[in-house]
Amino acid sequence: MDNLHQLVEAYVFASDSPLSLDRLSVLTEQPKTVLRPIVEELQQQFSSSAHGFYLAEVAGGYQFRTVVELAPWLKKLNKERATRFSKAALETLAIIAYRQPATRAEIEYLRGVDSGGVMKTLLDKNLLRILGKKDVPGRPLMYGTSRQFLELFGLRDLNDLPTLKEFSALAPELTEADPLNPELAE
């Protein structure tokens, strides 16, 4: 093959796990004696300090890895991800959005698990706000969503929330589930 170098580079780059010479040999249909110098060439090529990653030899195979010295910088990638929510946070937010004002007990009844921690996180992120106290024994706090919540989801107001009725109509096999009335969410 003409451009074996290119192919080996692509294989190592795209593989889920380190690629051994044996595996590379099967994939490229080339003997290991041909492949070894190519891998060495690649190692050399990416060893320069100009590169942010290099060809590491791990677990009996080859794999591209970021340069160790950059680790403190690369950690920031984790922290600064776009807004993502855990399933717990999303569930809690959904219940409050659709059923506000909602008390913690109502949320926990629907979710079936303690939700205090998640609610605190959402409050800290200013996605929830406290609407007051409910007129029942114990006077529990009632929660609703905030302006930041509307902004995050690009909603003008709560009427813009997808109605669960229309939503459920997307999946005919599920329509037996009780769709909520949108009006009730207010």
Partner: protein
């Protein structure tokens, strides 16, 4: 010409129609409607085993074709012929529009796709671990939000919501509604007694009210055949009916 066509190869009636037009070398702007209707119907006849939902959509198109055909056969009166649109126009427009997206779908199919033709780095951090706890996090959008709620409601029995769906609907009130309508019309289709956006509880109450009226021999129920419209017919005189009103409190269901 016998055509062997499997309907499940087509994504819908428009797809099938386009195929027939092409295989008969017709001009899409000048469809020979009689011929194409015949071809289309013969394909539909072969589809004995198709499930009903799909069949319905294909049958709807058959009806459209037959309708166009009949309009084409009507004599064109001179006065209005200028403004009269070709009966095929709407269909042609739909076919052309559909064809564009069908072709776009084929282009999509052939475009390099991530994880099929093209791959990104299967990256490994060196010498430090990432917080794997975050792996289960999902990107957020309105769909995800609504879906979260929807899944929760699916799992929970609806009794949680009885406090919100409890409306002040009384059977007596609905009996009055139905009898009021019957005083005007004498005969009502079953579907007509429901308001446009009935809730589940409204449906139940209306149904109970109907049964109550039958039990009281105020109305009779008629149906011509299986699955045909159910008719409610007044069985008493309007005078007798108005005498019922004072007793409506008897029917209060709490």
């Amino acid at each position: 010409m016998a055509i062997q066509i499997r309907l499940d190869n087509f994504s819908g009636p428009l797809d099938l129609l386009l195929h027939l037009i092409k295989s008969h070398e017709m001009d899409i702007y000048d469809i020979r409607i009689v011929e194409i209707t015949e071809q289309y119907l013969s394909v539909i006849e072969q589809m004995q085993h198709l499930d009903l939902d799909i069949a319905g959509e294909f049958l709807l198109m058959a009806a459209t074709l037959i309708h166009i055909k009949s309009r084409m056969l009507l004599p064109v009166s001179d006065e209005i012929s200028e403004e009269d649109e070709d009966p095929r126009a709407e269909l042609v427009k739909r076919l052309l529009e559909y064809q564009r997206y069908k072709e776009a779908a084929e282009v999509f199919q052939n475009m390099p796709q991530l994880e099929r033709d093209v791959f990104t780095a299967q990256f490994q951090f060196s010498d430090f671990m990432t917080d794997d706890g975050e792996d289960s996090e999902v990107p957020v959008g309105l769909y995800q939000l609504a879906d979260a709620m929807y899944q929760l409601l699916k799992e929970k029995p609806p009794e949680v919501f009885h406090e919100v769906i409890r409306e002040t609907l009384s059977v007596a009130e609905y009996i009055d509604n139905i009898t009021d309508k019957l005083l005007e019309r004498k005969r009502l289709g079953f579907r007509e007694i429901f308001s446009n956006n009935y809730s589940r509880s409204e449906l139940v109450v209306t149904f109970i009210a109907t049964l109550e009226l039958v039990k009281m021999h105020v109305i009779n129920i008629e149906q011509m055949g299986d699955f045909s419209e159910i008719w409610l017919v007044l069985a008493v005189s309007p005078d007798q009916l108005s005498k019922l009103s004072p007793h409506r409190s008897l029917f209060e269901y709490g």
